[in-house]
């Protein structure tokens, strides 16, 4: 990995002490790679001119153009900075599993920090909600300059949760969110897909855009164990005695079915779903966010 992309490797990021610096490294790296993108930018960036129509605010008329052309044109911008973004980060015990030095929780923190940095840079209001089987920490959305630091500090101090119950905190949160906005869910989704999808549908029904980042460790995706062992569930302590070589095929088929279920159900509900391998760089996640944000 060369150039800025090198800094997006989760393992490299893990060596960077400051979460702020991590987020900045990720975001700047991604944006550096996008500087020639045909994308038209966000918020206060200019989008187009159109002819003045009755009802338009007079303040939107570009008087310089009027002076040159003697016609009234209204200057349009891509987006106004009134979007509330909620970063929902799963901190359950299963998220603290990592086979390559970076746990899913750490990866999720990097991702949440990077998104928060990016959103803050766009002057969106960004908030953080950490949950396991309940909401364990909440930072309300804000676009203030000092708010990013609050979020990063909260990310660094997140506790290790217990069992995953994605559906319940989602349901609780859907009830309290009154303003439409953007909800970014970062979780391994090791829960009943039906309940999880049901919870996320509550947001969509309120007109809220939802992006789901499904974090899975490399071993969860490949099950590349060699030796016969007892596999103990990190949340329930349930053990299964298995020979990896013998059960690998069945396991991978089950995981694929699990992913397919989410991909199908969430797609059907109009929810963006992105599977992330925690061994892969973060830029994929940011690109997915930017795609979704661009459509908002």
């Amino acid at each position: 990995m060369a150039g800025p992309a090198r800094y997006l490797d989760p393992v490299v990021l893990a060596r960077i002490g400051s979460l702020d610096l991590k987020a900045k490294t990720v975001v700047e790296g991604v944006l550096t790679g996008l500087h020639r993108s045909p994308r038209r930018g966000f918020s206060v960036e200019f989008a187009e001119y159109r002819q003045y129509l009755p009802g338009d605010a007079l303040s939107t008329i570009d008087w310089k153009v009027f002076a040159r052309t003697d016609r009234h044109y209204v200057k349009k911008f891509e987006e106004d900075t009134n979007l509330d973004c909620h970063l929902l980060l799963d901190v359950s015990a299963s998220m603290h599993y990592g086979s390559r030095g970076v746990t899913k929780a750490e990866y999720g923190c990097f991702l949440a920090a990077s998104l928060a940095y990016l959103m803050h840079r766009q002057r969106d209001a960004v908030g953080l909600i950490a949950f396991d089987d309940r909401i364990v920490h909440r930072v309300p959305p804000s676009a203030r300059a000092s708010h990013l630091r609050t979020i990063l500090l909260a990310l660094e101090r997140l506790p290790v949760g217990h069992r995953t119950n994605v559906a319940k905190p989602l349901g609780d949160l859907a009830k309290v969110l009154s303003k439409r906005g953007l909800v970014v869910v970062i979780s391994d989704l090791l829960d009943d897909p039906t309940r999880v999808v049901q919870g996320l549908r509550h947001f969509r029904q309120r007109g809220t855009d939802v992006i789901v980042f499904h974090l899975l460790d490399r071993q969860e995706l490949r099950f590349a164990f060699d030796d016969v062992a007892r596999f103990r569930d990190v949340e329930s302590a349930h053990e299964v005695f298995a020979d990896p070589a013998a059960v690998r095929g069945d396991y991978l088929r089950a995981v694929q079915g699990f992913i397919d279920t989410y991909r199908r159900e969430l797609g059907g509900a109009g929810i963006d779903y992105h599977l992330l391998d925690t061994s892969k760089p973060l830029d994929l996640a940011l690109m997915a966010y930017l795609n979704t944000r661009g459509r908002s």
């Binding site: 015990a93 299963s94 998220m95 599993y97 899913k104 391994d188 090791l190 899975l216 460790d217 071993q219 969860e220 995706l221 490949r222 164990f225 060699d226 030796d227 016969v228 062992a229 007892r230 596999f231 103990r232 569930d233 990190v234 949340e235 329930s236 349930h238 053990e239 299964v240 005695f241 298995a242 020979d243 070589a245 013998a246 059960v247 690998r248 095929g249 069945d250 396991y251 991978l252 088929r253 089950a254 995981v255 694929q256 699990f258 992913i259 599977l275 391998d277």
Partner: protein, 638 residues
């Protein structure tokens, strides 16, 4: 019974490589590891059964891999199957029971039977037991078995014979019966001194213990030890082996009728000549019988056939008349020294041989000179040899080389001039001591190696000849070949004391006599034999026997007598007997190397081993493939 031997057993160390797959298997089958994993819910819920199947497959794979390594190591070790009793590794106790004449005294034999049964009963249960019987010859009476009852029954039904005692035969047969597993030999005997006569040493391999269960001989023994013609009558010799004086009646019987009776007074350990004056019947078998109830019965009678044997003629052919040149004298004297009444020696020079009328062919011809033979004489000799005659030719100075092919009927390539030997170059070395001609010359005093040869003729072509002896320099000294139906022996030097000092050496007379006996084998018409030297067809039992008519010969009566030496009960100590045994390295632990190589080369088990190893590897590959196929395709998740 078979066992496995190896030509290169060091390669078996390669079998230690089986530790590699075993260790790998043990290392990989650790199942006590616990791995924390978030997605346990995705794992199949019944993995144990699958694991059991896999464990079975793994064990099969492990066994196949171990088998392949073992087969490889064993193949490189060049295995072969040892045939016969050599393969038996179980220790064996062999009871060698003396069944000679001296054991046939009533008290002696019952004591011997008890001692043998006691030895069988004392054998450890883990050992096999066997019985060897011996007199002049040793024989396995009961092959090694675990069944003691069989051994007891065999011993209780066993009876002594009339043979002599030869401990070497006993030990040899017992060692043969004991496998390579070693064991113990218990010799049940009266330890008769005659058993070690002749200095023949019994060899005992390491790992075989020998003990003696001595049976006391009878209190006394009287025996008729000789019977011979004396004028028109007979003379017998009666020997006392009793510690005190004895009086005994000797009777002469012919055809079952007592003809004479004589009372004999015998001092302790003394003998007496008993004369039975003639005239006697011209035919029949005469028996001299004494009454002796203390000792063996078989030596109480001696037999003599009254008709004289038809002598076999040995012709000594010289170049010059023996009266003038004394040629052939040494050969004649040596033959006469054999004191064989069935052998008649005739010396004739070439000129007289040329004109002699054709009569009965001689049993054998000793040729020491051919110089005076004419064409007719040479043709007669060649015809004699071709038609089954037996000839010893000495290549001395009286042999005419150019005419020799005519004499023998076969070409003998010789150097034209005799070789003058220097130093010990022409000492004689036997090539095969087992040959009848050389067998009696194995002793140090009569070794042909002591013979000083000054000149000899070099036989140039070795092909077609059986080499019996060579000179130290490698030249042929004594060779043999078949010519037509006859037998030709050629001695490469002189037998007339001109080119060597052989005729005045101790080995000369035994050499000539044994050669004569060898050449006249099958022509012997002797009618009296002493055990154990009886020809085929004659029962090895004392007494008169009618020998069935052979082709071209009439039915005839022969007599067999016991060996008089067997009548002497003088015994040695058990310690002396044990000391007389010669310990040798165990030659039975494994077959000789050459024999082992021959067996291995014949069996080629290493090839089978390698083929089997390849087969095992193929099976291993198939099982491994099935194992991998059983796991199913592994989908890529994403």
């Amino acid at each position: 019974m078979f066992g496995l031997g190896f030509l290169a057993p060091a390669f078996l160390a390669g079998a230690l490589a089986v530790a590699i797959p075993i260790l790998l298997h043990l290392f990989r089958r650790r199942s006590d590891r616990v791995i924390d994993f978030p997605a346990v819910q995705m794992l199949p819920q019944a993995p144990v059964q699958q694991q059991e199947r896999r464990t079975l497959r793994d064990l099969l794979l492990l066994a196949l891999r171990i088998a392949a390594l073992l087969l490889l190591a064993v193949s490189f070790a060049r295995p072969y199957v040892m045939r016969g009793a050599d393969a038996l590794k179980v220790p064996t106790t062999v009871v060698a029971i003396d069944t000679s004449l001296s054991m046939s005294g009533p008290a002696t034999w019952s004591a011997a039977t008890r001692a043998a049964i006691a030895a069988i009963d004392a054998a450890p249960l883990a050992q096999l037991v066997g019985v060897v019987t011996f007199d002049d010859r040793g024989a396995v009476g009961l092959a090694p078995t675990a069944n003691r009852a069989d051994a007891r029954v065999f011993l209780e039904t066993l009876r002594p014979g009339a043979g002599g005692t030869r401990f070497a035969a006993a030990i040899g047969a017992a060692v043969d019966a004991i496998g390579p597993g070693g064991g113990r030999i218990v010799v049940v005997t009266d330890l008769q001194q005659g058993g070690v006569a002749g200095g023949e040493a019994a060899s005992v391999p390491d790992g075989v213990d020998v003990s003696v269960s001595a049976v006391p001989p009878g209190p006394a023994n009287l025996a008729v030890t000789a019977l011979a013609r004396a004028g028109e009558g007979l003379t017998a010799v009666v020997q006392s082996y009793a510690p005190g004086p004895r009086t005994v009646i000797a009777r002469l019987r012919v055809g079952g009728t007592d003809l004479r009776r004589t009372r004999i007074e015998l001092a302790a350990f003394a003998s007496a000549d008993v004369s039975f004056a003639g005239p006697l019947p011209a035919a029949g078998v005469a028996e001299v019988v004494i009454d002796d109830v203390e000792g063996p019965a078989a030596d109480n009678t001696r037999y003599l056939r009254l008709e004289p044997d038809r002598p076999r003629t040995l012709l000594v052919l010289t170049a010059d008349p023996p009266e003038s040149a004394r040629t052939g004298l040494y050969v004649q004297r040596a033959l006469e020294a054999a004191d064989d009444p069935g052998m008649r020696v005739s010396v004739i020079d070439g000129r007289r041989f040329n004109g002699a009328p054709a009569g009965d062919p001689p049993a054998a011809v000793f040729i020491v000179g051919t110089r005076t033979l004419d064409r007719g004489g040479r043709a007669r000799l060649a015809s004699y040899l071709r038609e089954g005659g037996r000839v010893l030719l000495s290549l001395g100075p009286d042999v005419d080389l150019p005419s020799l092919p005519d004499v023998l009927g076969v070409a003998v390539r010789l150097a034209p001039e005799p070789v003058v030997a220097a130093g010990d170059e022409a000492a004689i070395v036997a090539a095969d001591n087992r040959h009848p001609v050389l067998r009696r010359l194995a002793g140090p005093a009569s070794s042909p190696g002591r013979v000083s040869i000054e000149q000899y003729r070099r036989i140039l072509d070795e092909s077609g000849w059986t080499v019996l002896a060579r000179f130290v320099g490698g030249a042929l000294a004594l060779v043999e070949r078949e010519v037509g139906r006859g037998t030709l022996l050629v001695f490469a030097s002189d037998l007339d004391n001109r080119w060597n000092r052989f005729p005045v050496q101790p080995s000369f007379a035994p050499f000539i006599v044994e050669t004569a006996r060898y050449l006249t084998r099958g022509t012997v018409t002797a009618s009296a034999f002493v055990l154990p030297s009886v020809p085929p067809g004659v029962p090895a039992l004392p007494g008169p026997h009618v020998v069935a008519a052979a082709e071209g010969r009439a039915e005839r009566t022969v007599v067999v007598n016991v060996n008089p030496a067997e009548s002497d009960p003088a015994a040695m100590s058990a310690e002396a007997f044990i000391a007389s045994l010669t310990r040798v390295d165990n030659p039975r632990g494994a077959p000789p190397v050459e024999e082992a190589r021959a067996q291995e080369a014949q069996q080629r088990l290493w090839q089978l081993g390698l083929v089997a190893m390849l087969g095992v590897l193929v099976v291993e590959s198939l099982v491994g493939r099935v194992t991998r196929a059983g796991r199913g395709p592994e989908p890529k998740v994403g």
